[in-house]
């Protein structure tokens, strides 16, 4: 036995340590060096999930039902798998719109409805107060076991409760704006998570390896007891997988919906990337704290007198009975950590909800609060919140005193879980379903809550003997169909699964059905957009603002000052002025964006529903119809798509500009080349004309020579103009094509005939090598003739005078025909072969070069390309040149 003074002073000392840690963290935060902006602290703070209920209750549950404590931890583990998707979205929404509680979250989603916020708060209070009582009971029971103090009348639990209220007030209501983080509180909670884990592991190790020689030993000895063996070796058919599933789902939902989890996971989150770390650290924490549940339970059952100790106290009783009082004290501190952590966070969360969603709306009905003039309300608000903290804790204490002895810890915890699970359809649905409405949320929540109360709460009250329990056994008024634990004859489920099944079924059915019944109103639709599409919203500036009306800057500032205090109000407006690039607050335009920002600022302090009412009381606003919402959304998305389009367009323009520059350069070069080619013959023509004009005394032979040159150069000029135009048409795709079946052999013969004069003049011969039968090709006959004449006349220019020989071959391949024109001229120098098909690249040197425009080959290749073929040159310098082209045969 441990003296009461020791236990009490240890408890108070421990709370003092928590104070110190919290104070340190708050001071560090004030200096800008946050202790909690760390993924480990975040993950540990989530372990506030493990309360005294876990700490003591798991062992009790394991002692009674074997592995049935596990689903309570499997659920959260599964939930954390979805954390990155669901929790991160909740965090983003809460931080964007300064939402500070689950009631605010749900109310805000459904059009900032004060009634909905009040309903959620009521359900929370009703559901959570027993849970708070559980914690107080655990502290009290632990105290009694350690001290073995049977004294009635004096009770340390009230002291502890009041001390906790003091702690919570000190660190939970430091600032009015509950969207601000409670750094001290979070640091203390993370510390408590470490303490309770260490204590539980210490006892687990002590039992497993101190009292027994390892887990195998415990197992073997448990097997020796028939009743213990039965506990852990249920036949396969006896395992109730439905109940297992129900418990897992219940825990999964409550880890997201419990007010304290929402507080830690969403409101106190400093960086949504921390969710990634928490997604595995938190489940790992749960695994560790459950590691020794079975050994401790079995150890207690094997070693302790079943009549003297409740299994829920084994974690304390085992070390105490086995002569390790220090360890027992440590285990008690661990339990204290688990209980106080829950109490602190839960009361902060619930008191915020009670203040913002129950008390504020009532106060707001009073004209003096709503009036445009009026005093500073910040102190009033803080005091309301402090009173709520004390009130909630005392309510829990009262419940513990009145009903505490009636239930085991586990059953109370599960009843609370089932109550907050009713928020799940409304909250999760609201994250993803735009069509959900306020009426649907109301119907679902009320329906689910009533079924919960009827099927779970009432029977448990009846079983404790407070009210007659015949209606539980026989149904109200003898109507068996309505028996609370066998609704509509559903008797095959245990009472928790049964209640969960019916309450969630009714909840979801009403939520979906009523939502579908009516389209969302303007405000519901606008909030739906802000929640569902929270990730698709661009920077703050591009976000739509769902407000229309007129406001005065002074009114907005007055309102903010009254609710936030002069300093914070000023900071809010200064931030807005900075964002708009204004030097002075007075230069701010009270537009929709400013009204929206002020409303958000107020939401952090009084909740979004109350903030809405307050803002509406100082501005002239137009009701928001569905059409307005659509229009605002449309405008916002237009602005966004303009911005996007502008970006895309400018990128396209840059690319187009670069391309145009390249094209321009090419065109410039082309024009320059053409100009050069045109100027050259013009130069000769002008020079000789002028010379003849100035010298009428030229002899006739010279005159004839000059005139001949003029004629030749004029012809060259004309040819050039034609070919430039021709090439331009081909390149731009404007040329006319008359596609028909062409007999290539006949076309070749015609081209040879047309150029025969050229060859005869140079004393050269042309030898056609044509197959007897050649397939027809789909082509433009005139264009093909143009190509052939071009190749032939090129050849004619380069063959040696008097000994020229040109061979024209037509070969038929399976899928193509090839025409090759070979000459026995000098061939093309290797250096020129690469550029021979480019414009104005004439072969040969200037002196010996026959007249030509330098455009024949580019035109020919363009034509062949257009016909789907290819043209190339094979030439060994000194060994003649072969220009050839291939045309595909159509299948």
């Amino acid at each position: 036995m441990i003296p009461a003074a020791v236990v009490l002073s240890l408890s108070i000392g421990y709370l003092g340590l928590l104070f110190a840690i919290a104070a340190l963290a708050d001071r560090r935060a004030a200096q800008g060096r946050s202790m909690i902006a760390n993924p480990w602290v975040y993950a540990l703070s989530l372990a506030v999930y493990c309360t005294a209920w876990t700490y003591f209750g798991s062992v009790g549950r394991a002692a009674a039902g074997g592995i049935w404590f596990l689903p309570i931890y499997l659920g959260p583990t599964l939930a954390m798998l979805l954390a990155w998707i669901v929790v991160r979205k909740m965090i983003r929404i809460a931080h964007t719109y300064r939402i500070t509680s689950i009631a605010d979250f749900i109310a805000s989603r459904y059009g900032k409805s004060p009634l909905l916020a009040a309903l959620v708060t009521l359900i929370t209070v009703v559901g959570i107060v027993p849970y708070i009582a559980v914690q107080i009971k655990a502290i009290s029971a632990g105290y009694q076991i350690l001290t073995a103090d049977g004294r009635e009348g004096w009770d340390g639990t009230l002291v502890v409760t009041l001390a906790l209220a003091g702690f919570t007030i000190a660190f939970g209501t430091r600032h009015l704006d509950s969207a601000e983080r409670h750094e001290g509180m979070v640091a203390a909670i993370a510390f408590e998570s470490v303490v309770k884990l260490a204590a539980f592991l210490a006892v687990g190790l002590f039992v497993t390896f101190g009292l027994f020689s390892g887990p195998a030993d415990i197992w073997a000895r448990a097997q020796a007891h028939p009743e213990l063996a039965r506990l852990f070796s249920a036949a396969p058919g006896q395992f109730d997988s439905v109940q297992w599933f129900a418990l897992t789902v219940l825990a999964l939902l409550s880890v997201l919906m419990l007010p304290r989890q929402f507080q830690m996971m969403v409101v106190e989150c400093t960086d949504e990337r921390h969710v990634k770390r928490a997604a595995w650290v938190f489940p790992a924490y749960l695994l560790l704290i459950n590691l020794f549940v079975l050994p401790v339970a079995l150890g207690g059952l094997l070693l302790l007198d079943p009549g003297r100790f409740d299994p829920e106290s084994y974690i304390l009783a085992l070390p105490l009975a086995e002569g390790a009082p220090a360890l027992a004290l440590f285990a008690y501190v661990g339990g204290l950590s688990a209980a106080t952590g829950m109490l602190i966070v839960e009361t902060v969360a619930v008191s915020t909800m009670v203040c913002n969603d129950l008390v504020m709306p009532t106060l707001l009905r009073r004209a003096s609060i709503r009036a445009r003039q009026g005093g500073d309300l910040t102190r009033l608000l803080l005091n309301i919140r402090r009173a709520a903290i004390v009130g909630v804790l005392l309510l829990g204490y009262l419940y513990f005193q009145v009903a505490g002895e009636a239930y085991a810890l586990v059953s109370i915890g599960l009843i609370s879980f089932a109550a907050v699970a009713q928020f799940a359809p409304t909250l999760l649905g609201g994250l993803y379903w735009r069509g959900a409405t306020r009426a649907g949320a109301f119907a679902g929540l009320i329906g689910g809550f009533l079924i919960w109360a009827y099927t779970l709460m009432l029977p448990s009250v009846a079983k404790s003997g407070w009210i007659a329990d015949d209606f539980v056994r026989e149904g109200p008024f003898g109507l068996a169909l309505l028996a609370p634990e066998r609704l509509f004859g559903l008797a095959s489920l245990d009472n928790l699964t049964h209640a969960l099944f019916w309450s969630l079924l009714v909840n979801i059915a009403l939520y979906v059905g009523v939502s579908l019944w009516r389209a969302p109103s303007g405000r519901e639709a606008s909030q739906a957009h802000l929640f569902v599409d929270v990730f698709s919203r661009p920077a703050e500036a591009g976000a739509p603002v769902f407000w229309r009306g007129a406001a005065r800057l002074d009114d907005l500032m007055g309102l903010a000052t009254r609710l936030l205090g002069p300093e914070r109000a000023r900071a809010l407006f200064e931030a807005q002025a900075r964002e708009r690039g204004l030097a002075d607050i007075q230069a701010l335009t009270p537009d929709a964006r400013l009204v929206d920002q002020v409303e958000r600022g107020l939401a952090g302090a009084v909740g979004s529903a109350s903030a809405r009412v307050l803002v509406a009381s100082v501005v002239e606003e137009e009701p928001l119809a569905m059409e307005d919402v659509l229009q605002i959304l449309d405008e916002a998305s237009q602005v966004r798509s303009y911005a996007r389009a502008l970006e895309t367009t400018s990128a396209e323009l840059r690319a187009a500009n670069a391309q145009l520059k390249t094209l321009d350069q090419l065109k410039d070069d082309f024009v320059s080349s053409v100009t050069h080619e045109l100027r050259t013959p013009l130069t000769s023509i002008r020079a000789f004309s002028e010379l003849m004009l100035d010298a009428p005394d030229l002899d006739v032979a010279q005159q004839r020579e000059f005139l001949g040159i003029i004629v030749t150069e004029s012809e060259r000029l004309g040819r050039l103009v034609n070919q430039v135009l021709d090439l331009a048409k081909l390149e731009s795709g404007l040329a006319d094509w008359h596609t028909e079946d062409v007999d290539l052999a006949a076309t070749i013969r015609a081209a040879i005939a047309a150029t025969s004069e050229l060859f005869r003049a140079r004393g050269a011969q042309v030898l056609p090598h044509l197959p007897e039968r050649a397939p027809l090709v789909r082509a433009d006959r005139d264009r093909l003739t143009q190509v052939l004449i071009n190749l032939l006349s090129n050849a004619a220019k380069f063959v040696p005078e008097g000994a020229g020989r040109v061979d024209v071959r037509l070969t038929v391949e399976p899928d193509a025909v090839v025409v090759a024109v070979s000459d026995n001229g000098p061939g093309v120098p290797l250096a020129e072969q690469a550029t021979i098909f480019e414009k104005f690249r004439q072969g040969g040197d200037a002196l010996s070069r026959p007249s030509g425009t330098g455009l024949g080959l580019p035109i020919s290749r363009q034509i062949v390309d257009h016909l789907g073929g290819r043209m190339w040159l094979v030439s060994q310098p000194g060994g003649g040149a072969t220009f050839a082209f291939r045309l595909p045969l159509q299948p």
């Binding site: 050069h676 100027r679 000769s684 023509i685 020079a687 000789f688 002028e690 010379l691 200037a846 002196l847």
Partner: protein, 142 residues
């Protein structure tokens, strides 16, 4: 005037025509010979440079776009060589773009004439350049 007389008195000065267009060469040759100059002809860049170094013509009518070596390159090579530095150079080009003009001046030509040219103006310019240093260097951009 002394210089002019000296020119008239001495052996007829040499003029090199460097162009790859045969008909233009024919017309320029006719004009230069009629003025009494001794005419040399080159058909490409290297040949032109070689002729200038060998014959030291008083004036070169230099086509800007010749195979082998452009007129600009020839001009720069002439200016870089102490033995030929003082050769008068009149650039002829069929490209009328500003950049080509700038290139010509940058290369160190004394005058710059675009094709097609006026035979009278060309002859006047040639006469001026043969007469002496002063009026020969004129700003082509003016």
């Amino acid at each position: 005037m002394e210089l002019l007389r000296a020119t008239e008195a001495g052996p007829s000065p040499k003029v090199l025509i460097a162009d790859d267009e045969p008909n233009i060469v024919v017309s320029l040759e006719f004009m230069m010979k009629r003025e009494g100059f001794q005419v040399l002809v080159a058909r490409d860049g290297p040949q032109a440079l070689e002729t200038i170094r060998r014959e030291h013509p008083r004036l070169v009518l230099l086509d800007a776009t010749m195979p082998g070596m452009t007129g600009f390159d020839v001009c720069e090579a002439v200016r870089a060589d102490a033995g030929t530095r003082h050769t008068r150079i009149l650039m002829l080009t069929a490209k009328g773009r500003e950049t080509d003009m700038a290139r010509g001046v940058g290369a160190g030509a004394d005058a710059y004439v675009t094709k097609p040219f006026s035979t009278r103006e060309l002859m006047q310019k040639v006469k001026d350049m043969m007469a002496g240093d002063g009026p020969g260097r004129e700003d082509p951009a003016a």
